[in-house]
């Protein structure tokens, strides 16, 4: 309808003209002036009815009145900007937080992995009832693959590193060795070139590689003709056969750039007890996880008997791949989601009480409109419209908060950890999150619309016009307000306790005994592979040279090399035997580290007995070992371990090592784990191609890093140097520290917001109650009540509410603590100091919130209060 609508004003003018013309005509017929005036109007009938009919002519009445409701509501909301801003902001806070967290939950736990039919993909590894789960050995993998009926295909992969020769020097790169059908099993096809051919998988097969999308883009400028070119990895030429698609990622491989077939095995890898491969299998149709698990366990036991593998009771382990990839973050995410939902709940309750208080202050307006003929439905509709507007405003603002929060939170995850969490890429507003947001918005809308509507329906118009509110309904609703505050305070207590527990866990984690001083330590990773370091003894000179050159740098106090830094993981373990004791096939798994003579000194480990290694402990001398206290206590209780010998398979060769020293426990494994027994061998007696330099500095270790990199490069430009950082940064960036930090800060933020909202809610209820009881207080004071007793009365009211909130909250907090037990470290769910601190904080805040209204109540002038009536 594009024609110009005639407006109501024009129509009114026409009617005015009609009346005037009629009046004129009547006068000309001889009717008196007054009579003509009267009769013209009388004849016409109801002018307003005519105008209304004109007005309604082209309209759908309910739509029209809806539009007017909305317009009126917007005017009302703008007339009261404080209320509107508070309601929208509070809702946006709760909604933004829960939506952002939900986006992570969705990406990690709900979105399927980016493979074909990912639910059928299993992680298949060795396991035993006593030692948990660990990787496969290659011979076991081959036998499992051959013997099983449960898997359509069973593949193996193993992380590795190469030195990539580039025109600008050697660069260490991450790579993954995979069995031939690995990509077919995942259901991933190269976007360029081809997948591995059947023959390329065999031992002695050609050196070929697939590139990750990132490697193709950054190292080969995304050129299409990359297929068929060769790259130099560890002085071997690899032919590029294809490029993996952009969407491909495999969390267990970090960001491996080169994917090569397993076409050669080291001496160790040929052994049945050298565990270095991860299995991935696709279940046959109709086969369940349990069936597959049972079959694999049978095979594992059969092989155990066949090859007489001692002391393990091997079971094998079949677990859904998604469980392996997101299992670690699930409890954290669910805890965060729980916290966010609680915050959302508080926000909604807070806005509802705001809406209620507002509807209370509009009682007169409602009553007057009712008395003037507005139907109850019409009035209710007005409130419903306002509720919907607040809910939608809050939701839109909440969605904006959420999208900012998602980006901020995603950015807080460090790069190398994000590589193991490919799902972070999927954190965004998608169908799931939109549905979640719509759900919250709908719930909020129903809540904000229904409560004032019910409130309105429960009170009669006459009650509203008279000022006194002593009816039962009034009491009910006042109680509702108090109950809501108790709820808010209880939820605040839960969140505060949760935040307290997580904060204490995080603190405990960072202050866990490391067994060395992490301050003033600089570290960097060195890779020495390729032709120049082939052959026995070639690397020993390199180790000595690095230690010597670095130690003589200004500002360096001491330096050493290790195969693996402490506080990383309990990986690289060794199965040992004590020489001279009967071998009953016990399972003696200990952490194994290869270190240079200067390492333990540079680390600041405490030598309890014996000595550290010296440069004399090299390949031409008998094997020696240093053990930690845990190993000494476990295997040599009440004995002197010095001079005892331990035996193992070192590099596939049976070896014996004499213990020459015992050190205080250095935490080799993760911060939140137990200390494992550990053995240290001289790096000069068991070569390592890849090792880490550790430097104790006098000043800020970060400042020394560039110099360290240069020094190592000067020794040999073909060395791969990477990952230069400080020990403190390394520990801060470990998964345990990050997850705990994330959880503690976020839940802390939720708790702080919840406390603020809860206290504001308490203040609101007390202030409102005081304002309604002004007359009563006046009467009391007129009858002789002291100011102090009025003060006490108001504070008492607040104290009852706060106490109820604290008691209910503590019960809830206990339950919540139990649920997040898995995230706690060094504290129990029932932690009296945390509970006490939370009670004190909440009590003090409640006192503060009620102090102002109490003072106002006590300063009521009885004369004024009574005269106001």
């Amino acid at each position: 309808m594009f024609r110009r609508q005639r407006n109501a004003k024009d129509f009114a003018a026409e009617i005015e003209a009609h009346l005037a013309l009629e009046e004129d005509e009547l006068k000309s017929e001889g009717v008196s002036d007054d009579e003509a005036h009267r009769r013209a109007r009388c004849d016409f009938g109801s002018v307003s009815a005519a105008r209304e009919r004109f007005y309604l002519k082209d309209r759908i009445p309910w739509l029209d009145s809806l539009a007017r409701d909305v317009k009126f509501s917007i005017r009302q909301l703008f007339r009261n900007p404080g209320f509107t801003a508070a309601a929208v902001a509070v809702l946006a806070l709760g909604m933004g937080a829960s939506l952002a967290i939900f986006a992570f939950v969705d990406a990690a736990l709900l979105e399927p992995l980016p493979y074909a039919n990912p639910g059928r993909l299993m992680s298949v590894n060795e396991s035993s009832s006593s030692a948990g789960r660990w990787p496969l050995s290659y011979p076991d993998y081959i036998d499992w693959q051959r013997m099983n009926q449960s898997f359509r295909s069973l593949e193996a992969h193993s992380g590795t590193g190469f030195l990539l020769r580039t025109p600008s020097g050697a660069e260490p790169v991450q790579a993954e060795r995979v069995s031939g059908g690995f990509f077919q099993t995942l259901g991933v096809h190269p976007m360029l070139g081809r997948d591995f051919l059947p023959g390329e998988n065999r031992l002695g097969g050609p050196n070929v590689t697939l590139l990750s999308y990132g490697a193709w883009l950054h190292r080969f400028d995304g050129r299409k003709d990359v297929v068929g070119r060769t790259v130099d990895l560890d002085d071997n030429a690899y032919t590029v056969i294809g490029v993996l698609p952009r969407t491909f990622n495999f969390a267990l491989s970090g960001n491996a750039e080169f994917w090569v077939p397993i076409n050669a095995l080291s001496t160790h890898e040929k052994k049945r007890t050298f565990y270095a491969f991860e299995g991935v299998g696709r279940l046959r149709d109709g086969i369940g996880v349990k069936t597959a698990q049972a079959e694999i366990a049978g095979i594992a036991r059969k092989l155990e008997r066949l090859y007489a593998i001692p002391g393990r009771e091997l079971n094998g382990s079949v677990i859904p791949l998604s469980e392996i990839i997101v299992g670690d973050v699930r409890p954290v995410l669910l805890t965060l989601l729980g916290g966010a939902v609680l915050l959302l709940m508080i926000s909604c309750v807070n806005v509802v009480s705001l809406v209620l208080v507002r509807s209370e202050s509009r009682r007169r307006e409602i009553a007057v409109r009712g008395a003037l003929g507005a139907t109850r439905v019409r009035l209710v509709r007005q409130f419903v419209t306002e509720g919907l507007l607040v809910a939608s405003g809050g939701s839109v603002a909440g969605a904006m908060v959420a999208s900012v929060a998602m980006r901020l939170l995603g950015g807080m995850v460090p790069k190398d950890m994000a590589d193991n969490m490919p799902f972070l890429e999927g954190v965004r507003l998608n169908a799931h999150t939109a549905a979640f947001a719509a759900g919250i918005a709908l719930m909020a809308a129903v809540l904000f619309a229904a409560i004032p509507a019910l409130r309105l329906l429960s009170q009669s118009v006459r009650d509203g016009l008279s000022d006194g509110d002593r009816g039962a309904a009034g009491r009910l609703w006042r109680r509702l307000g108090s109950n809501m505050v108790v709820l808010e305070l209880a939820v605040s207590v839960i969140l505060l306790v949760a935040a307290g527990l997580l904060g204490r866990s995080f603190y405990r984690l960072l202050h866990v005994s490391l067994g060395f001083d992490p301050g003033h330590l600089a570290t960097l990773q060195v890779m020495a592979s390729g032709n120049s370091y082939q052959g026995a003894g070639k690397t020993t000179g390199l180790y000595r040279e690095i230690e010597r050159r670095v130690s003589s740098l200004p500002g360096v106090q001491s330096a050493g090399l290790t195969s693996l830094l402490p506080a990383e993981c309990d990986c690289a373990t060794d199965n040992i035997r004590i020489v001279g004791r009967p071998d009953n096939g016990e399972h003696n798994e200990v952490d194994e580290r290869h270190v240079s003579p200067g390492y333990l000194h540079a680390l600041g480990a405490s030598l309890l007995r014996g000595r550290y290694f010296s440069q004399a402990d090299d390949a031409s001398h008998p094997g020696v070992a240093v053990i930690n206290e845990a190993l000494a206590q476990w295997y040599f209780p009440g004995q002197d371990p010095i001079g005892q010998k331990i035996a193992n398979d070192e590099g596939g060769v049976a070896s014996v090592w004499e213990i020459v020293g015992v050190i205080g426990d250095v935490r080799e494994g993760p911060l939140d784990g137990d200390i494992s027994p550990a053995e240290y061998f001289p790096i000069n007696q068991a070569r390592q191609d890849s090792f880490t330099l550790v430097v104790r500095t006098a000043q800020d270790p970060a400042a020394l890093l560039p110099l360290l990199v240069d020094t190592v490069r000067q020794i040999d430009p073909d060395l791969g140097v990477s990952d230069e950082t400080t020990m403190d940064a390394k520990i801060d960036g470990t998964q345990a520290a990050l997850l705990h930090r994330f959880a503690a800060w976020l839940v802390g933020g939720f708790a702080a917001s919840a406390l603020l909202l809860g206290i504001v809610g308490l203040y609101g209820v007390i202030a409102w109650s005081v304002s309604r009881r002004t007359r009563e207080i006046g009467v009391r004071m007129a009858l002789g009540a002291q100011r102090a007793s009025v003060h006490r009365m108001v504070l008492g009211e607040a104290a009852v509410l706060a106490l109820a909130g604290i008691v209910i909250g503590c019960a809830g907090a206990l339950a919540a603590g139990r649920m997040m037990q898995g995230l706690l470290f060094g504290v129990r769910a029932w932690d009296p100091p945390t509970l006490a601190a939370v009670c004190i904080v909440l009590g003090a805040a409640a006192l503060l919130a009620s102090y102002l209204p109490a003072r106002r109540a006590a300063s009521v002038n009885p004369v004024d209060a009574l005269r106001a009536e």
């Binding site: 129509f11 003209a17 009629e22 004129d24 009388c42 005519a50």
Partner: protein, 117 residues
Amino acid sequence: MTTQKNSDDRIALLQGTLDLLILKTLVLGPRHGQGIARQIRRQSEEVFFVDHGSLYLALQRLEDRKWIAAKWGVSENNRKARFYSLTARGRGQLTEKTGEWQRLSRAMGLILGGEEA
């Protein structure tokens, strides 16, 4: 709606006839709303009374259908008024509707008259 006269001998307009009466009234030239109302009453010998609300609604409806056109002007006694005039389409409609009405009233007459005879 009451008038000063006893309204027993007056007839409320049949649905749809008001449009036809308005069109017919405008054949002689442009008129304003009050003039149309007077004219209908006078020509029907005061039998039809016009509900003014309905009249103005009908005028608006006809204007929306472009059967009549409206424009503000000045009456003989110098008052501002909105004048309506018949459009070509309106003229066509008048012919058509008049034919329809005549057929209808003849048929009604036949039935009612036949019964009387």
